[in-house]
């Protein structure tokens, strides 16, 4: 399958196969009006299979979301048809308004204006906890 290469934009590569759609939604790409391709189950030497998202525009994306959904993903920034930046995204220390606290006893359940903030409490086990009530993110 061929997807045209992009001139100015972002290629999110090495997404664990099956997580592409979730990442697409969490990044809010469904609301973007540029061309976006989601490639599922592409062949990968490293992973066997992988998903890829190609965004044909220089838009702003939240790297924290990427690090939370699938740490180890590669983000390639392309400008004028040239790869200008390549970075591997690790798990962020804090997540703000990416996920919501599900604990009905948490203060965020009654105070709508509060940011939903989670902090990484165990990098090995990928555990994030709400900074207010310490409930583990699911």
């Amino acid at each position: 399958m061929n997807i045209d290469s992009i001139n100015n934009g972002i290629v999110i590569d090495h997404i664990t196969a099956g997580r592409g759609m979730r990442l697409y939604e969490l990044l809010g790409l469904d609301k973007a009006d540029c061309s976006i391709a989601i490639i599922k189950n592409a062949a990968s030497g490293k992973l066997g299979k992988k998903d890829i998202i190609k965004i044909d525009a220089d838009i702003s994306i939240d790297f924290d979301v990427i690090g939370y959904v699938d740490p180890g993903i590669t983000v390639n920034i392309i400008k004028g048809g040239i790869l200008t930046e390549k970075k591997t995204i690790e798990m962020p220390e804090r997540l703000t308004n990416v996920i919501k606290c599900k604990n009905p006893r948490c203060i965020t359940s009654v105070e709508q204006e509060l940011d939903h903030v989670f902090k990484l409490t165990d990098r090995n086990e990928c555990v994030y906890r709400c900074i207010y009530c310490e409930t583990k993110a699911k």
Binding site: R105, C106, I107, S109, I131, Y132
Partner: protein, 306 residues
């Protein structure tokens, strides 16, 4: 601005300093009777708690300070829909330090992020209650002379009891502490506390359903109330509430220097006939709570000056 939201906000050294201050207050109350002259403590109690609120108020009065506040959400601006953040900013204009109890977990933390004065968490739902834990640690130190080389038994509701989780967490930072968990199957200590606190810190612990079997090994017995509001149905509550009642006969094989603690209020889990036993420490624990809060208020007001 330094606040106290979780007992782990304090280092072991800071807890030692607070305990030393509390002991000095007990020995020399006159030395501290004017320390907070001109200072105001705001007690913001969004849910009723007579014991904790009065303990804070007594602590501030004994330091020569004053107290203002409310004791239920209905008599506060929260009833009009004011946010915790706005309440904290407003009260910062009136008082020097806040003690807050709130039914929602994390509310005192939100207050601390927005207040320009120190905030003490006086209990946020089933989450944290650090001044109770500080009280418990002061009690252990006063009664046993140390917070190490001790076998501590926790009995009753270990599933929902926040005071239990918090004290276990605090004790996990001390040397050679052995924990004995005594509860019915339905109210066992949650596995995340075992994994994240006990296993992670290499704390030796055993679990049992028999209070009688465990008692002879204990230096400290921490009793808890089986709370009606924690059960979905009345039948389960009635079946379990009397499971672990401490009666004089059960103390027959206990150590002579056992220290019996309870965060109170009790329902019937400790027979009143034990109250006069020299091993009963739970009313002394209430008294120590006031001194622990005095030491904490002093420390936070001192740090706020810097």
């Amino acid at each position: 601005m330094r606040s106290l939201i979780d007992i782990l906000d304090l280092t072991v050294d800071e807890i030692e300093t607070l305990i030393d201050t509390a002991n000095d207050i007990i020995d020399n109350p006159a030395k501290y009777s004017e320390k907070c002259r001109g200072k105001k403590l705001a007690t913001l109690f969004f849910e009723p708690s007579t014991r904790t609120r009065l303990s804070f108020e007594a602590a501030m009065y004994e330091l020569g300070g004053n107290v203002l506040g409310f004791s239920e959400a209905q008599s506060s601006s929260a009833a009009k829909g004011e946010s915790v953040a706005d309440t904290a900013k407003t009260i910062s204009c009136y008082a020097d330090i806040i003690a807050m109890r709130h039914p929602k977990e994390g509310a005192p933390y939100v207050a601390s992020l927005n207040a320009s004065i120190p905030v003490i968490n006086a209990g946020d739902g089933g989450h944290n209650h650090p001044t109770q834990t500080l009280t418990d640690l002061l009690t252990i130190r006063r009664e046993k002379g140390k917070i190490s080389d001790l076998t501590v038994g926790f009995c009753g509701d270990l599933k929902f009891g926040r005071t239990v989780h918090s004290l276990i967490t605090a004790l996990s930072r001390y040397n050679n502490i052995k924990i004995v968990l005594i509860s019915p199957e339905e109210l066992k200590l949650p596995s995340y506390v075992k994994k994240d606190v006990l296993d992670k810190n290499g704390i030796e612990y055993t679990e049992t359903t028999s209070l009688e079997e465990a008692i002879p090994t204990l230096d400290i017995l921490y009793m808890t109330r089986v709370q009606r509001e924690r059960f979905f149905n009345e039948e389960d509550y009635l079946r379990l509430k009397d499971s672990y009642i401490l009666e004089p006969s059960k103390l027959a094989h206990a150590k002579s220097d056992l220290c019996i603690m309870h965060p109170l209020p009790r329902v019937n889990e400790i027979s009143v006939s034990i109250d006069n036993d020299p091993r009963a420490c739970y009313f002394k624990q209430v008294l120590y709570g006031k001194y622990a809060r005095m030491a904490l208020i002093l420390m936070l007001l001192e740090e706020a000056k810097k």
